[in-house]
């Protein structure tokens, strides 16, 4: 599968830490910063084809003139995040240029009272630094629901 090059940058770490409301000075130390534990997920910024980012000249499923820019899109499409697991072999730091590669994952189904048939898909990503050392392994479990999750 595709390999993504993920340069870890101090300003990105600072912006990310702000967005999770974390004022820890370790995330605002310029070149001496470390990245917060959930930062590896922001590799999405460096995936040229990431499907949850609007791209110039292409229809986008969010609202514009109409409530969705893509007609006939099924409700709740895009899926939800069910689980996320990170394993770190060392912290990510500015100056790391990581190569991120996705391996195959399991798929399974489950019946739910709140959302109908659930289809789970696992995706495992390995983050390696310039020397080929494994820095982080991230396992995402996504779920597509048959209907929106009932509230209450």
């Amino acid at each position: 599968m595709t390999k993504i090059t993920f340069p870890v940058e101090a300003s990105h770490i600072m912006m990310f830490a702000r967005s999770i409301g974390d004022t820890n000075p370790a995330y605002q130390a310029g070149a001496d910063s470390v990245a917060p534990p959930t930062f590896p997920q922001s590799v999405a910024q460096f995936d040229p084809d990431y499907y949850l980012r609007p791209k110039p000249g292409q229809p986008w499923f969010g609202s514009g003139k109409t409530a969705s820019g893509v007609e006939g899109k099924a409700p709740s499409s895009g899926g939800l995040h069910a689980e996320q697991h990170f394993e770190y072999f060392r912290p990510l730091r500015p100056g790391d240029v990581l190569t991120v590669e996705y391996g195959p994952g399991k798929t399974w189904e489950k019946e739910s009272k709140r959302a109908g048939k659930l289809t789970f898909r696992e995706r495992v990503a390995e983050y390696r630094d310039q020397t080929g050392e494994l820095v982080c392994r991230a396992t995402l479990v996504g779920v597509t629901t048959e209907r929106p999750v009932a509230q209450g």
Partner: protein
């Protein structure tokens, strides 16, 4: 200063309020920083008229990030070696979240000392939104 095994015992616990009255603007902020622009989290028109939810709701990864602060405040930002969660309920604008982190084990492995923690985040109604665990490298 790094956390030592002698500073911890099983059952030690910390609870912090990790967000008070979550705003839609913070969801936009998280979308921009993380790169996840799913309109479910930022586009009230799409989410109410097309996706069938009562309002935008938080990225699971934002809730995981908010919760992780309680772990890193305790063990140090560079000491986390595992962090995993299940997203058990959605988080909505206006929610206030409290995260509780509890020591579940202190152990040696390959000559290193690790502490394991449970991580649980609940909303203002006491409903759990994130359930997980974390492992930190600590000093012997």
């Amino acid at each position: 200063m790094a956390l030592k095994a002698s500073d911890l015992k099983i059952g030690d616990t910390r609870t912090e309020r990790v967000v008070e009255n979550l705003t839609r603007t913070q969801l936009v902020q998280y979308a921009g920083a993380s790169g996840d622009y799913n309109p479910l989290h930022t586009d009230e028109v799409y989410v109410t008229q097309v996706a069938g939810y009562p309002s935008v709701f938080a990225h699971g990864m934002l809730t995981m990030g908010l919760s992780g602060k309680v772990v890193t405040d305790w063990v140090g930002a560079d000491r986390v070696r595992k962090y995993g969660v299940r997203f058990t309920n959605q988080v909505w604008p206006g929610d206030s979240l409290d995260t509780t982190v509890t020591v579940t084990a202190i152990r040696n492995e390959d000559g290193k000392t690790f502490a394991d923690f449970s991580v649980s985040t609940v909303n203002q109604d006491g409903r759990e939104v994130v359930s997980g665990s974390a492992t930190a490298l600590i000093d012997a």
